[in-house]
Point group: C2
C-alpha cells in the first residue's frame, strides 16, 4: 500500500471501523452481508463526514439530508454509521445483537426500528424509487414553505441489483424528467452479484443509461476519498439528478474473499477475519473502535448541529412557522371530516347513479379543497381513475407548486414514490391505476403496509364490470390477494356515500395504507342513514327484514346493488333476507365479536362479489353459498359478463332458496 | 398530399384498409382503441408484406417469424392484419363482433382465441418481455436442431407505455446482453399517452437508452414505407437486437383527432369517421375492403408458403426430424415419471432431513437428466434457490447450447421470458426467486395462468423459516395471494418425497403453470407409502389414529412436521388426532366431494401454516382453529421466530384441546 497523508489515513481508519463492525456483527450473528459495507465504507465515510447535512442528536430535523441504503442487505453499513455517529437508539450492544429478535439491528433496515432509518429497504430497487419520492417531496415542500426552510439533498447508495430491477428504470426516468437536482445516487459498482460476476447477466452501460434519462453521471474510484469528494461536490453543483458510479471491490479488506461473490452474503469466517484485520491494519478486538476514531466519528455526527440550530431560528422567525408545524403533523382527517359529512348528506339527498370512481372524484374534490396536504397522481390513467380535481395543477420540471403528479405508465414507481412522499412528512399521497395493475406495484404496496404509511391507492375498474377490455384488465383475484396483505385496508364502497366514508377513513389512518376498489360502471345510491360513518365498522346491516332473517346476503361494492335486488326477489317469494354491505373486511374484523355476530346473524349466508371466493369462507360459515367468479373474465359488455358468469339477483335468490331448503 | 407512385399508393391503400377496419370495428363496438392501429398501419403493412416470414394458411409453422403486439390495446391492428392476410379463424364477421362475448376479437389479443395470436398482451411491457423469451427460445432451439430448421425473427410493436414500464428495462438489458440479433422492436413513437403528451411524464432519450443496453437503434418516419423498409432491412443485418423508433401520428387519418390523446382509447364518432374516410380517400362502406386491396393482402398472406414448403422438406430430410417432433410435443412427464418414482423410493429409504429447496435441487437433478426440455434459471439467486444442476451449462451471448439462464436481478423479466419460452414451444422453463419476490413478477405469473402455460416458478425461502433476513424477505401473504390466482397450482411440499411428487405434477400440466413453495430450513422425511403420487390428490391423510378422530390437523410444507409433533403431544394425552398434509389446495378442490370429506373428516379441525389465515376457512369449517401468522414477520433466527409467533407443536395441541373441550 502507498503512504497515506495523515488526513487520508484518518479517513481510511474511519472507514475501516465500518468494515470491522460489519464483519464482526455478521460473524457474531452467523448471518448477514459483509461484502457491501466493506466495499462502500470509504464512500460512506466521505458522504457522512464531508457532505451529509444532519445532526445525529436530532434525527428528525425536517431539513436534514435524507440517506437511503437502497442495497438494504448492506444494513451493517447503516448500523455501523449510526453507532459511530452517535445516533440515539444504536448502541454497541445493538450491533452485537445484529439480526437477533427484538434488536433494532434487523437483517435489513426497518423503518421505525431505530432513529435515522429513513425507509425500509431490502427488496431491491425500492430504496432508489422511494428516494425519488423523497426528493419530489422535498421540492413540493420547498415550493410551499420556501427554500430557507426546506433545502436538502437525498442521497442513495444503490447496488447492481437495484439497477437491474425494472423499477430503477421507472424511478430514474421520473427523476430525470422532473430534474430532481438534489437527488444523488452513489452506485456501488463492484461487478459482483449473487450468482457471480455481473457480466453473467448484464452488459448495460449504466452511465449512458442514466444520461439517457437526463442524469448527470460520473465514474470514480470508490476507494479514493478525494476522488469521491470531488465527485459528490460536482454532483451537488449540477442542475440534474446525479449518478456516481463508484468503482469498488466487494468485501474490500478481506484478502481471501474480496472481489468475489462469496463475500456478499455470508460471514467471512474466523480465519478470514483474522486475515482481514491484518490487511486493514485493524488490530482491535471485535466491536472495539479506538477512542480517537470514535471521537472523529462522533464529532462528524454533530457537524450539522449549528446548521440545525440556525435552521431552528429561521423557522421560529418565519411567518410560515405555524403553517409548517401544522403541515408536518399531517392531520388531514380533521380538515376533511366536516366537508365530507356534508358531502354525504348531499349525496343522500341527490341519490346519483354514478360509478364509484366518479364518486371518488367528487369526494376528492371536497377533500382537495379542504386540505392542501393531499398530493394526487395516476400512472397515466388520470381520466379513467378520476384522480385529478379542479385547480390541482400539475407538478412539472422546475415547478413544484402543483399538487398532481403525472407518474407516467409506472405503477411500481408511483407506489414507491408515494411511500417516499409519505415518509418525507406532512403530505398524504394518493395515486391511481386500474385494480388489475396493482400487481405491478405490489412490491411497494407491501412496503407501504410494512412501514405503516398513510398512502392511498385509488384502484378503479375493479371487476368484470369494466367490460370489453377483457381478462387482462379484469381483476378477479386482486381483492383476495390484497386482503391477504397485513396492515392494508381494502375498501370496496358500494355507492357515493360509502366512497366518501372510505376516503375519510383512509385519510384518518396514521399507520396504515389503504386502497379503494372502485367501479367503472354506474351504481345507485343506497338508502341508509348518513348521520354517522357506517363504513367505519367495516360492515353493517343495510336492510333488516321485519320478523327475523331467513337468510343473510353479504356483498361489497358493485354487488351490493345485486344483493338488494336478490333480496327483493326473495321477499316476493316470502323469504326474509337481510343485506349486509361490507366495505372493509379489516375494519369489520377489528369490531367486537358481539357486533360481528349481530351483523352476520345466524341464518344461512350468501356472499356476493364479482371476484374469487378465497377468503369469503371467513364470513360465510358452513351453511352458505357464494356468487362470484371462479376463473378469469372475458371481453364483452359488462352486462353480458355479469349474466354469463351468473352474478345476478336471480342467482342470489336461487342460492338463498337452496340454502333455506337445505336447513 | 404529394403524388404517390403506384406501388406506394398500393402500400398506402393496404395500410388504409387496416385504418378503416380499426375505426369501424371500434365504432361498432362502441369501445376500443383506434389510435394505435391507425398510427402504425403503415409500419405494419411494410412488416407483414415485405419482411415477416409466415404462411397464413399454416399459422403454427414452427419456423415462422413471431410477431408480438406489445401495445395490446391496439388489438384491431392484429385482427385487421389477420383478416386481410387470410388467417383461419378471423372473418369479417369476427371483426364486426369486436369485443363481443365469445368472439375471437377480444378487447386485447388473447392467446388461444385465434390462430396467429402468439401471446396475450395488454398489460404494458409484457409483450416486449415475452418476446425476449421467444427470441431466447429461438436460439436455444436452433442450438439443438440447427439453423436449417430454426432461423426466424421476433418482431415487436411496442408503445410509449411499454417503454415506460420498468419491465422494459429488464427485458432490453437481458436481450442486449444475450445479443438477440433476431429480435426487432418497432417503437410506435407517437409522443402521446393516455394522460396527454408523453412529455408530461418522461424526457427519456429512448434510442440512447437502448444503445446503452447494447442495442442497434434507428429513427424513422413511420409513415414512409420505404424508410421503414430500409430500417427493418438494416435491423435484420445488424448483429445486435434492434430498436426502430417509428415516428408516427396517433390516429393518423382522423383529421380532427389525429395526434391527440382523445384518439387513443375511444371510438372516433360518426362524424369524425366520415371525415377520416374522406381524408384517407377511403370511400368504402364499413368493413368493406375493395377486392384488389384484399387480393394484395391475401397474396402477402401466402408469400411465405414456398419457404414453408421448402422448410417442410428440409425437416423431413433432417436426421433430427423425429427428435424435433418429439421436442415440440413437449411431453416431459413421460420422460421424468419413472426416474422420479425411483427417486421417491430412494428418499423413503434414506429419509434425509433437508430443506425442500434442497429436495427440489435433487429432484431437478433427476429431471434434468431424464429430459432435455427443461430450461432452468434464477433471478440471481441460483445458489439460494438451488435451481442449477450438474452439467446444465449457462446460456451466454453467442452460445445457446446451455440449459441455464442467469436472468439477473429481474424477477418480472424472468417470468415474462419464461412465458415466451413456453409459448415458443417444446421447452419446459422453470425459474427461481424467493417467494416474497414473486410480488415483483406477479404480472407475468398472472399471464402464465391466463394463457395456460407450463411454466414452473421455484419459490424458496417460503416463510419466517428463512430467519434473519427479516420481514422484507419473509412471505406471509404470498401463499394466499397466489392461491387466489385462477389456474395456478400452488404446491407446498412437506419433504423430499412430496417435493418430487409436486415437480412431477407441475411438469405434467399441459395448460396450467405451477409454483413450488420451498423451505430454507431442513425438514424430516415423512413416513408414508411411495407407491403412488399422493400429492396428486392435493391433500391426503398422513396419519389416521386408530379408533376414530377427536381432531384433524391440516398443514402444508414445513408445518406438517409441527402438525405431527402436535399430534404426538395430543396422543400422549389420549387425544386422537389425524394429520392431513395438503401440498396443493387446487388439486384437492378438484377431487370428488367424497374424497374431500373422507380426508377432512367430521372432527373439529386445526389448520397450521406459517402464513396468514386468509383462505384457510374453506377447509376449516365452523368448529376450528388456525395456527399461523397474523402480521409481518421479524428478523431473528428461525427457531426464535416460530416460538415468538406461536407456531409450535404445543400451540397446535392446545388449540386442538380447546376445540374438543368446546364440543
Amino acid at each position: 500500500m502507498f503512504e497515506l497523508t495523515e488526513a487520508a489515513a484518518d479517513t481510511r481508519n474511519c472507514a475501516n471501523a465500518i468494515r470491522a463492525l460489519a464483519m464482526d456483527a455478521v460473524e457474531k450473528a452467523k448471518s448477514g452481508h459483509p461484502g457491501m459495507p466493506m466495499g462502500m465504507a470509504d464512500v460512506a465515510t466521505v458522504l457522512f463526514q464531508r457532505f451529509m447535512k444532519f445532526d445525529a442528536a436530532e434525527p428528525t430535523w425536517p431539513d436534514r439530508d435524507r440517506f437511503v441504503l437502497s442495497a438494504g442487505h448492506g444494513s451493517m453499513l447503516l448500523y455501523a454509521l449510526h453507532y459511530l455517529l452517535g445516533y440515539p437508539g444504536m448502541s454497541r450492544a445493538d450491533l452485537e445483537n445484529f439480526r437477533q429478535f427484538g434488536a433494532p439491528t434487523a437483517g435489513h433496515p426497518e423503518y421505525g426500528h431505530a432513529p435515522g432509518v429513513e425507509t425500509t429497504t431490502g427488496p431491491l430497487g425500492q430504496g432508489l424509487a422511494t428516494a425519488v419520492g423523497m426528493a419530489i417531496a422535498e421540492r413540493l415542500t420547498a415550493a410551499r414553505f420556501g427554500d430557507d426552510l426546506v433545502d436538502h439533498n437525498t442521497y442513495v447508495i444503490a447496488g447492481d441489483g437495484c439497477l437491474m430491477e425494472g423499477l430503477s428504470h421507472e424511478a430514474i426516468d421520473l427523476a430525470g424528467h422532473l430534474k430532481l437536482s438534489r437527488l444523488i445516487v452513489l452506485w456501488d459498482d463492484n461487478s459482483i452479484s449473487i450468482d457471480g460476476p455481473t457480466d453473467l447477466a448484464t452488459s448495460m452501460d449504466q452511465c449512458a443509461r442514466f444520461a439517457a434519462a437526463g442524469w448527470h453521471t460520473q465514474r470514480v474510484d470508490g476507494h479514493d476519498p478525494e476522488a469521491v469528494t470531488a465527485a459528490i461536490a460536482a454532483a451537488k453543483a449540477d442542475p440534474r439528478p446525479s449518478m456516481i458510479a463508484c468503482r469498488t471491490v466487494i468485501g474490500y479488506g478481506s484478502p481471501g474473499k474480496q472481489g468475489k461473490e462469496s463475500v456478499h452474503g455470508a460471514p467471512l469466517g474466523e480465519a478470514e477475519i483474522v486475515a482481514a484485520r491484518a490487511a486493514l491494519d485493524w488490530p482491535h478486538t471485535p466491536f472495539d473502535v479506538p477512542e480517537a476514531i470514535l471521537a472523529t466519528w462522533r464529532s462528524a455526527g454533530r457537524r450539522g448541529a449549528s446548521a440545525r440550530e440556525d435552521w431552528e431560528k429561521r423557522r421560529a422567525a418565519s411567518p410560515k412557522a405555524r403553517a409548517f408545524e401544522t403541515f408536518l403533523k399531517g392531520d388531514v382527517a380533521a380538515e376533511v371530516a366536516g366537508p365530507l359529512a356534508e358531502f354525504r348528506v348531499k349525496m343522500a339527498a341527490e341519490k346519483p347513479k354514478i360509478a364509484t370512481r366518479k364518486s371518488s372524484e367528487m369526494a376528492l374534490g371536497v377533500i382537495n379543497e379542504a386540505t392542501g396536504a393531499t398530493i394526487g397522481g395516476s400512472a397515466d390513467l388520470t381520466h379513467s381513475n378520476f384522480t385529478i380535481t379542479k385547480g390541482m395543477g400539475s407538478v412539472r420540471p422546475g415547478d413544484f407548486s402543483g399538487r398532481y403528479i403525472h407518474y407516467g405508465v409506472r405503477e411500481f414507481g408511483m407506489a414507491a414514490a408515494m411511500n417516499g412522499i409519505a415518509l418525507h412528512g406532512g403530505f398524504a399521497p394518493y395515486g391511481g391505476t386500474f385494480l388489475v395493475f396493482s400487481d405491478y406495484a405490489r412490491g411497494a404496496i407491501r412496503l407501504s403496509a410494512l412501514m405503516g404509511l398513510r398512502v392511498v391507492y385509488v384502484l378503479t375498474h375493479d371487476s368484470i364490470g369494466l367490460g370489453e377490455d377483457g381478462p387482462t384488465h379484469q381483476p378477479v383475484e386482486h381483492l383476495a390477494s390484497l386482503r391477504a396483505l397485513p396492515n392494508l385496508l381494502v375498501f370496496r364502497p358500494a355507492d357515493a356515500i360509502e366512497t366518501a366514508e372510505c376516503w375519510e377513513l383512509a385519510l384518518a389512518q396514521s399507520a396504515t395504507p389503504s386502497m379503494l376498489s372502485l367501479s367503472r360502471q354506474n351504481l345507485p345510491t343506497l338508502e341508509r342513514p348518513v348521520t354517522e360513518n357506517l363504513s367505519a365498522r367495516g360492515a353493517y346491516v343495510l336492510r333488516e327484514p321485519a320478523g327475523g332473517r331467513d337468510v343473510t346476503i353479504l356483498a361489497t361494492g358493485s354487488e351490493v346493488e345485486i344483493a338488494l335486488a336478490g333480496a327483493d326477489l326473495l321477499a316476493a317469494k316470502g323469504v326474509k333476507a337481510a343485506v349486509v354491505s361490507m366495505p372493509c373486511w379489516e375494519l369489520f374484523e377489528a369490531q367486537p365479536a358481539s357486533y360481528r355476530s349481530q351483523v352476520l346473524g345466524t341464518a344461512p349466508r350468501v356472499g356476493v362479489e364479482a371476484a374469487v371466493r378465497l377468503g369469503w369462507d371467513r364470513w360465510l360459515g358452513d351453511n352458505s353459498a357464494f356468487i362470484g367468479m371462479s376463473g378469469f373474465g372475458a371481453s364483452a359488455p359488462a352486462a353480458a359478463l355479469y349474466k354469463h358468469f351468473g352474478i345476478t339477483a336471480e342467482a342470489v335468490a336461487e342460492a338463498a332458496t337452496g340454502l333455506i331448503g337445505a336447513r
